[in-house]
């Protein structure tokens, strides 16, 4: 089959690779009909996520048609249309029984590697380095889906791929980011990053009744979309004014947002060129893996006793994490 593989930092290419085969009884093989590039794929492309190997097939947002099932898969039939969630979950462990699928205790065959870096292993993920299992991804013609009796979402009606594909990652990720904020109605929510996940986070904050939703980005077309399509009430273009914290205070009567969602992650851009350059050099020299502008500003801007919701991807270690602000303001951090 043809598949897109990672060939080293800043290099991907389409290559011929072997077709996937059933390896475990609870596997299924999916013929992929649609797949997406996630913003977090850029972290792999740019070489900032550890444990990549040349030849790794990328892609963790995909859907398609079941073409083969293992003996242990009874709820799916050949021909079924499915959306495949990006975390691989066994459905049997303590974490899965508590619906904490992204920290499944059994699906990562490189759990020992993850344990060294994170303290505990996390779930296997398609096409996302070897620390998350070394599973081939879905930017290919076919993919093997382990524990196919648990994760895949069966699409029974005639919804087009474009209407359901985002269930594989970015919509539930954005929704979860808003859910972390405990929105009951009337809150002020700031969303750092108005890319696809940020857009879904904005829409998901509007749905339960947030009164003010502030989108933060440096691209005007994204900020326009946040306003016109997703319901943002205010926008901040930090390419025009880099002091995001003060602008958020101005928009919230000096108090700061009740909750802040970081939908940016480890390759954040700072509005001040010199500050950005300094952090960029540290990251390129591997003195840190994560550029933390967005998260630092999120912590500084959030009102005392507010919530910081982190759904942007971070890979390892960050310099100058504002522990003083985090502790003294009594903030709650939720991540995933």
């Amino acid at each position: 089959m043809r598949a897109k593989v990672w060939s080293g930092r800043n290099t991907v290419q389409v290559e011929n690779v072997p077709d996937p085969k059933i390896l475990n009884d609870r596997d299924a093989i999916v013929r992929i009909t649609s797949t997406a590039i996630c913003g977090s794929d850029l972290h792999l492309y740019d070489g900032y996520i550890p444990t990549m190997e040349k030849g790794d097939i990328l892609g963790h947002e995909f859907m398609g048609e079941i073409v083969e099932t293992g003996r242990g898969v009874e709820n799916l039939q050949v021909g079924d249309r499915v959306v495949v969630p990006f975390p691989i979950a066994c459905g049997n462990c303590w974490a899965c029984r508590h619906e904490l699928y992204s920290v499944c205790e059994n699906s990562n065959p490189n759990a020992g590697i993850a344990e060294k870096l994170f303290g505990h292993p996390t779930a296997g993920i398609f096409g996302y380095s070897h620390i998350t299992g070394g599973y081939a991804g879905g930017q290919a013609e076919y993919a093997r889906v382990p524990f196919a009796d648990v994760g895949p979402i069966k699409i029974d009606d005639d919804l087009a791929d474009e209407q359901v594909l985002f269930l594989s990652d970015i919509f539930p990720t954005g929704y979860m980011g808003a859910e972390f904020c405990d929105i009951k109605g009337g809150e002020s929510i700031a969303v750092f990053g108005a890319g696809p996940v940020g857009q879904f986070a904005i829409a998901s904050a509007v749905m339960p009744g947030a009164e003010q939703v502030i989108a933060i980005d440096r691209y005007d077309y994204r900020l326009q979309m946040a306003r016109t399509r997703c319901g943002a009430t205010d926008v901040i273009d930090f390419s025009k004014d880099a002091d995001i914290v003060e602008q958020l205070k101005e928009l919230t009567g000096g108090r700061g947002p009740d909750a802040v969602i970081d939908a940016v992650g480890m390759e954040a851009t700072h509005g001040h060129g010199a500050i950005h350059a300094a952090e960029r050099v540290k990251q390129a020299a591997r003195m840190e893996t994560d550029r933390g502008h967005a998260l630092r500003d999120a912590i500084l801007a959030c009102r005392p006793a507010g919530i910081v919701s982190i759904i942007g991807v971070y890979g390892g270690l960050m310099d100058k994490f504002p522990t003083g602000a985090l502790m003294n303001k009594g903030l709650t951090i939720r991540t995933g």
Binding site: D19, E53, I57, G72, E105, G124, A136, F147
Partner: protein, 93 residues
């Protein structure tokens, strides 16, 4: 060197003890010798067999979790027929 490892299996204590002595689940693990990392891998496979009925295999670690694979991963792309035959011949987990 740390020689203590632990893992939690989602079963009652009596059942874990019973399964530990069952050759299908525990005997292989209890025979493992060597570094803590090797024994931890064996404990993980025991937990995986008990909880899920199988040892998950990926393209990078097609035998399931193994200490030697931690430093020598194969690419995350499907195995060729000959690679797969070799892995199956060597034994999975």
């Amino acid at each position: 060197m740390n020689t203590r490892v632990a893992i939690t299996v989602l079963r009652e204590r009596d059942e874990v003890a019973r399964l530990w002595t069952n050759p299908a689940y525990g005997t292989a693990a209890s025979r493992e010798v060597g570094a803590a990392v090797v024994f931890k891998d064996a404990l993980r496979r025991f937990k995986q067999r008990v909880e899920t009925g199988e040892v998950p295999r990926s393209d990078g670690s097609p035998e399931g979790e193994r200490a030697e694979r931690k430093v020598r991963q194969r690419p995350a792309q499907p195995l060729t027929a000959s690679e797969l035959a070799e892995v199956e011949k060597a034994g999975v987990s």
